[in-house]
C-alpha cells in the first residue's frame, strides 16, 4: 500500500529527517509528563532520563533537517512555529500517557522500532544521520531493555497488571500499522542510501515484538488497517492540545530569546 506524496528534488531528504525528529520530539514531550508522577521515584528518574534522550535526539534531527533546507529554520522554529498539519510524527507518539501499562506498551512498540531503525541508519549515506544513529541506537538499546523488562513484569505479574497490559496493547496495536507504510519519501530515501529498507525493518520488528509479547504472556492483537496517518499530517484529536501546551510561551511572546 502506498501513499502518494509528490516530492520536489531534495525535499524528500528534509522530509525523511523531519519525520524522525518529530517522532522523537512528540514522544519525548509525552514521556516528560510523567516527571514527578511516576509509580515510584526510581521511575521518575527513568522517565525523565528517557524523555531527555528523546528531546536530545529531536534537537539533533531537527537541526539537521533545518540544515538540509539551507538553514531556513532552526530546531526551535521547527518545534515551535509549525501547525498541527505540518507535524509528521506517528500517531502512536502523540497519544496521551494513560496508565503505567499504557505507557510501557507504547514504549516497547516504539523502542523496538527505534532500535532496529537506528541500528540500520548507522550505515546511512548521510554522514550526519549515521552519526546521530550511532548515538541513538545505544540509548534505544537501554530504553528497550527497560520497557521490555517492565512489560514482562506486568504481563507475568498479577491478574490486574496482566489485564491492564493486555488492554493497553489491544488499544494501541492498530497504530503500529503506520510504522511500515512506505511512501515515496521512504522509497527515494532508501534508494539513495539515506534511509532504511522498510520491509526488512518490519520483519525485524515483528520477530522482536513477538518474542517480547510471548515472554510477557500477552496475546498479539490482530492487525488492523488505520485510515489516518501522522506522516501525512493527519493527526488524532489529541495533537492540537499537545502543541497548544508545548508552544504556548513562544506563541504568546513571538520572536523573543529565552
Amino acid at each position: 500500500m502506498k501513499n502518494s506524496v509528490t516530492c520536489a528534488p531534495q525535499s524528500w531528504h528534509f522530509e525523511y529527517v523531519l519525520r524522525l525528529g518529530d517522532n522523537a520530539l512528540i514522544l519525548g514531550q509525552r514521556i516528560s509528563e510523567w516527571c514527578g508522577h511516576s509509580p515510584f521515584v526510581e521511575e521518575d528518574v527513568a522517565m525523565a532520563n528517557t524523555a531527555l534522550d528523546h528531546i536530545g535526539r529531536a534537537r539533533m534531527l531537527l537541526t539537521h533537517a533545518g540544515n538540509l533546507q539551507g538553514n531556513k529554520q532552526t530546531e526551535d522554529d521547527l518545534a515551535y512555529s509549525r501547525n498541527e498539519r505540518e507535524f509528521k510524527n506517528f500517531l502512536l507518539c502523540e497519544l496521551p500517557i494513560g496508565d503505567f501499562a499504557y505507557t510501557i506498551v507504547r514504549q516497547v512498540l516504539l523502542d523496538t522500532y527505534h532500535f532496529h531503525l537506528y541500528a540500520a541508519l548507522q550505515k546511512s549515506s548521510d554522514d550526519t544521520l549515521a552519526a546521530i544513529a550511532a548515538k541513538v541506537v545505544k540509548e534505544s538499546t537501554y530504553h528497550l531493555r527497560h520497557s521490555s523488562e517492565w512489560l514482562i513484569r506486568l504481563g507475568d505479574g498479577t491478574e490486574e497488571s496482566q489485564r491492564r497490559a493486555q488492554l493497553a496493547l489491544d488499544n494501541q496495536w492498530r497504530f503500529t500499522s503506520e510504522f511500515f507504510l512506505a511512501d515515496e519519501v521512504d522509497d527515494v530515501a532508501h534508494q539513495a542510501g539515506v534511509g532504511v529498507d522498510v520491509s526488512l525493518l518490519e520483519k525485524l520488528w515483528r520477530d522482536n515484538v513477538n518474542d517480547i509479547l510471548s515472554a510477557a504472556c500477552l496475546l498479539r492483537p490482530e492487525d488492523a488497517p488505520l485510515r489516518a496517518s501522522g506522516r501525512m499530517g493527519l493527526h488524532t484529536e489529541h495533537m492540537g492540545f499537545l502543541l497548544a501546551e508545548m508552544q504556548s510561551v513562544q506563541r504568546a511572546y513571538p520572536g523573543l530569546d529565552w
Binding site: 520530539l25 514531550q29 516528560s32 509528563e33 516527571c35 514527578g36 508522577h37 511516576s38 509509580p39 515510584f40 521515584v41 526510581e42 521518575d44 528518574v45 525523565a48 532520563n49 524523555a51 531527555l52 528531546i55 536530545g56 529531536a58 534537537r59 531537527l62 530546531e75 526551535d76 518545534a79 515551535y80 496508565d99 503505567f100 514482562i152 513484569r153 506486568l154 507475568d156 505479574g157 498479577t158 490486574e160 497488571s161 491492564r164 501546551e245 508545548m246 504556548s248 510561551v249 513562544q250 511572546y253 523573543l256 530569546d257 529565552w258
Partner: protein
C-alpha cells in the same frame, strides 16, 4: 537497672567524644535513640523535599520555551528525583523502610520544604527557583557535607556537585529575561518578588525559636545555625540581583559596615507558620499529586513482587 543506665551514659559519652573529634558515625555504630530519630526526621524531610520539589518545576517541562531549556530542565528535575533516592537510601540505613517513609509523607507526619507549596506561574519562576531556591539549598547543603552521620554527609557531597548546575541554569534563565523585552523583564521581577521571601523562610525559624536546633548542633547534625545560613544567602544574593538589574523586594535591605553583612527586613512569620501548617497555595495539590502517584503505583508494585515470586519459584523448580 542501675547498671544498664550507667552503661548507657558511658556509651553516650563515648559517642559524643567521637562526634566532637569529627569522626563520622556509621550505620552499624551505636548511637543514642534521640540522635537516630532526629536524623530520620531531618534526612527524610530532606528527601521528601527533593521528591516533592520535582512538581513546581515539572509544571513547566512541557511548556519550556526552547528545546534546549526543555532538555536542561528535564536534566535538572531528573537530578532532583535522584537526590530523593540518595536521601531515602541514607534514611533507610537508620532502620526505617521506604514504605514507612512514604506513609509519613502522605499522612503529613513527615514534612517537606514549604517553598514547594508555592505555585510556578510563569516561565520566569523556573529561573527564580534555580537561582534562589537551589541557591539557598546549596548554602544549606555545603554546610551539611560536614554533618556527623556518614551516609548523610556522603549523600550531601554527591548532591552538592549537581546543585551548582541547577543554580547556574536558573540564573542563566533570569539573565536572558532581565535583558530581554519589557514583558520578559517584568516577568523576571515578578518572579523575584514572589520567591524572595519564601526562599528566606527555607532556612527555618530564628535560632532562638528553633525547636530542634540545640541537640542538632551538639551532635553536629547541623553545623551552622538557621540565622547564620540565611545571612550567608542574603549576602551572596544581593550582588547577583544587582547584576541582573532586578530589585530585591525588601526596603530594609542595606549594607551594614559594622557587621560586614547586609541588614534585611523581618520575615512574615505568620505566613511561614500558615504555609507550614498546610494553608499555602499548593500544599493540597503537592500532597495530592504524590498520593495519586503512590496509589496508582500500588498495582505496579504488586505486579513487581508477584513476578519476582513467580521467578523465584521457577528457579527453585529448576534446581530441584
Amino acid at each position: 537497672m542501675e547498671i544498664s543506665s550507667l552503661e548507657e551514659s558511658r556509651r553516650e559519652a563515648i559517642f559524643q567524644a567521637r562526634v566532637d573529634a569529627e569522626e563520622k558515625i556509621e550505620p552499624k555504630d551505636w548511637m543514642p535513640e534521640a540522635y537516630r530519630k532526629n536524623l530520620i526526621r531531618q534526612i527524610s524531610q530532606h528527601g521528601h523535599s527533593e521528591v516533592v520539589g520535582q512538581l513546581p518545576e515539572g509544571n513547566w517541562i512541557t511548556r519550556a520555551p526552547t528545546l534546549r531549556r526543555k532538555a536542561v530542565l528535564l536534566a535538572k528535575v531528573q537530578d532532583e528525583a535522584g537526590h530523593g533516592l540518595y536521601l531515602y537510601s541514607a534514611t533507610e540505613t537508620l532502620g526505617i523502610a521506604r514504605e514507612e517513609l512514604m506513609e509519613q509523607l502522605l499522612t503529613g507526619k513527615a514534612k517537606y520544604a514549604s517553598i514547594f507549596n508555592y505555585p510556578t506561574l510563569s516561565w520566569a519562576d523556573v529561573g527564580a527557583i534555580g537561582w534562589l531556591v537551589d541557591g539557598a539549598a546549596i548554602v544549606n547543603q555545603i554546610s551539611l557535607c560536614r554533618t556527623s552521620y556518614g551516609p548523610y554527609a556522603r549523600a550531601m557531597v554527591r548532591i552538592c556537585k549537581e546543585e551548582s548546575f541547577h543554580m547556574r541554569q536558573g540564573y542563566e534563565i533570569m539573565t536572558v529575561l532581565a535583558r530581554g523585552s519589557q514583558e520578559q523583564k517584568a516577568m523576571a521581577q515578578d518572579a523575584l518578588n514572589r520567591w524572595w521571601w519564601p526562599t528566606l523562610m527555607m532556612f527555618g525559624p530564628h535560632d532562638a525559636d528553633s525547636a530542634h536546633s540545640g541537640s542538632s548542633m551538639k551532635w553536629k547534625i547541623k553545623r551552622q545555625s538557621n540565622d547564620e545560613l540565611r545571612q550567608k544567602f542574603v549576602d551572596q544574593s544581593v550582588a547577583q540581583a544587582q547584576h541582573l538589574n532586578l530589585k530585591i523586594p525588601d526596603e530594609k535591605l542595606k549594607w551594614n559596615d559594622e557587621r560586614g553583612h547586609y541588614d534585611f527586613g523581618e520575615i512574615d512569620w505568620d505566613e511561614f507558620t500558615a504555609v507550614l501548617g498546610g494553608a499555602g497555595p499548593c500544599n493540597h495539590e503537592r500532597l495530592e499529586a504524590r498520593r495519586i502517584a503512590h496509589e496508582q503505583g500500588d498495582w505496579v508494585r504488586d505486579a513487581m513482587f508477584a513476578h519476582a515470586e513467580k521467578q523465584r519459584q521457577r528457579d527453585v523448580r529448576k534446581t530441584a
